[in-house]
Amino acid sequence: MESARRRQQLTRILLYALLIIGAILALLPMLWMLSASLMPTGEASTFPPRFFPSAPTLEHYRDLFTRLDLGRNLLNSIFVSFVVTFVSLFINSLAGYAFAKLRFRGRDRVFRFLSMGLVLPVQVAMLPLFLLLKNMGLINTYWGVIIPGLSSIFGIFLVRQYALSIPDEMLDAARVDGASELRIFWSIVVPGIMPILATLSIWTFLATWNDFMWPLIVLSDASHYTLPVALANLSGEHVQDTELMMAGSVLTVIPVMLVFLFLQRYYIQGVMAGSVKG
């Protein structure tokens, strides 16, 4: 019918309009950040506010890498994020698989106990954790930041959930053939849970890169800071230098954005799949 058609057209236009406005709102802060980082000093604090730089300049980025040594913090973030991501992937998937597929005494009790941990906010642990690391000599070291992140209940849950779907027969057949549990894990399970491993590693990488409170607490000198802490540090001293701070923000955000954009398929699928099952 004509009017129904017309109505659909109008609705479609309305929906697209909303979507586009939404997209602009979602991207506006990031776009301004990028633009302001290229403005000459002082241009970002003018009235009326400018949206585009009059004469784009890379001087603030140069400043970040030379005078302020943010390159060091970038490397720190990369190092910490990679180590945590790959080591925790191994540790969490071993445990997740064990809970899913290995029959052992006490499995359900231990698992229930772990689940309780999900309700505990991590901040409750921070004060004694700091004192513990102090006694281990790990304050202001990379390991002080890395070690507490090497295992996560959430990661274990995620792997377990996915590993449940591996057919028992496949595993039992391998056992009959005499393969060790570790062998089975490596050759059968890991290939089978690749998608969730991909999702988990992206998730862990992003979370570790973006982590702020714990590195802030543990690290006390700038040469060890990860990017978020270095950035917050910078903003205390350079609140006057808008353009410089924007460049710092761009530097912090770009790597995770790139990781996300290239691997978004795995990540988004993982989030959505996990939620349906959960």
Binding site: I139, S220, D221, T242
Partner: protein, 392 residues
């Protein structure tokens, strides 16, 4: 911290040339985070060998036994003789009769102001009493537009109300630093004055982080006066355009009935007990205390030397902006030397903010401030009663 952190590497290079075996690493921290970061480092057994400490922090770091006493080193040193330092400043580093820091540079607060704006309001000189000062600000205000203010004192900083308190003769803490004295008459008088500046719209109620660019505001005449320290000489010189350079000046602070007191501030170089390189560290401290190096440092940062002899150098003696500081340094008063001072100072401006914004009356504010301060000092009272802490 601050600009010092950025330029000290120049001085370090020279030091390393003199002492080829020693290599020095410099860590920069912003002032806002330095106090907590240094304590974190202490707690985490990760202290540097030497740190630049705000001299109000020296008692705190001493109380936790983090610093090495320097008296023996000072006595046998040619490069850091005790009598070449400003008395009031040196004493801020002395706790229980022992010295825990060498003054590196001195800091006190004076007024930075727009000469032209003040002159246009009919004043050729910065007033020297509170009453005159206030009158001049009102004059300036009447010639200003909306969102323009004669004075900028960020409400998230403790020096302004504390300075006024010291000027009015308040001890800030009483009974050997065991109780707060903020609701007593002298501080109340100072606090009244402080809050009235905001109520009369002579100063905007802004926090430190809301002023996106102080220098731009000063240049554009949105602000005519600003209370700050010596480092601003360098900043104003570098950040304001050439055309503005003859339009600004410094002057000592007005006091209640005449030129007023200011903070006996500054930074000290302190040696951490846990340092494995004490000898080398002391060499560096001595080096940085040499008058010629102090002058060079002054040239790089605008920070005023702690060595009296350094002040005779022409670069300083002829610096028109430094004169106000030299003058002010004769009238400096230290803040209470208790470890809890940093936190007490924070409480001062936090409660101050309540009064400035009209949420509480002056009396309420000061009563609550004293209540909080007394609670903070409870551990100190306990430690003193147990004789674990000597009386000052």
């Amino acid at each position: 911290m601050g600009r010092e952190g950025e330029v000290v590497s120049d001085l370090i290079r020279d030091f390393e040339k003199l002492h080829p075996g020693i290599h020095v690493q410099v860590q920069q921290i912003p002032w806002s985070a330095a106090h907590e970061k240094l304590l974190t480092a202490y707690v985490g057994d990760a202290t540097p060998d030497i740190a630049m400490l705000g001299n109000t922090w020296v008692p705190e770091f001493t109380a936790i036994d983090a610093l090495e006493p320097l008296d023996a080193l000072v006595a046998s040193s040619k490069d850091a003789p005790r009598n070449d330092y400003f008395d009031g400043i040196w004493n801020t580093n002395v706790v229980d009769g022992k010295t825990f820091g060498i003054p590196w540079y001195v800091d006190t607060r004076v007024i930075f102001y727009r000469k032209d704006i003040l002159a246009a309001a009919g004043y050729n000189q910065m007033p020297t009493t509170w009453a005159d000062w206030r009158a001049s600000m009102q004059k300036i205000k009447s010639r200003m537009g909306a969102r323009q203010y004669p004075l900028l004192i960020p409400i998230t900083e403790w020096p302004p109300p504390v300075i006024f308190g010291l000027q009015a003769g308040s001890p800030l803490l009483k009974d050997d630093g065991q109780y707060g004295a903020f609701s007593e008459a002298p501080f109340k008088k100072a606090f009244d004055f402080y809050v009235s500046l905001f109520n009369d719209k002579l100063a905007p109620a802004l926090s430190g982080s809301e002023i996106s660019n102080l220098y731009q505001e000063f240049e554009r005449g949105n602000i005519a006066m600003y209370i700050s320290g010596p480092w601003q000489i360098g900043e104003f010189t570098n950040r304001l355009p050439k055309a503005m350079q003859d339009k600004w000046a410094t002057a000592p602070l007005p006091g209640v009935d005449g030129p007023g007191a200011s903070l006996a501030g500054g930074a000290s170089l302190s040696l951490f007990k846990a340092s494995p390189h004490k000898h080398e560290a002391w060499l560096l401290m001595e080096y940085l205390s040499r008058p010629d190096v102090q002058i060079k440092f002054y040239g790089l940062t605008g920070d005023l030397p702690a060595r009296r002899s350094a002040w005779q150098d022409s670069s300083l003696a002829n610096n028109v902006h430094a004169r106000a500081f030299r003058d002010q340094l004769d009238r400096v008063v230290p803040t209470p030397q208790v470890p809890e001072w940093e936190e007490i100072a924070t409480k001062v401006y936090e409660h101050g903010e309540q009064a400035v914004r009209g949420k509480k009356t002056i009396d309420q504010t000061l009563a609550e401030l004293d209540r909080d301060v007394n609670a903070l000092l409870e551990k100190r009272r306990y430690m003193m009663s147990q004789k674990k802490l000597a009386a000052r």
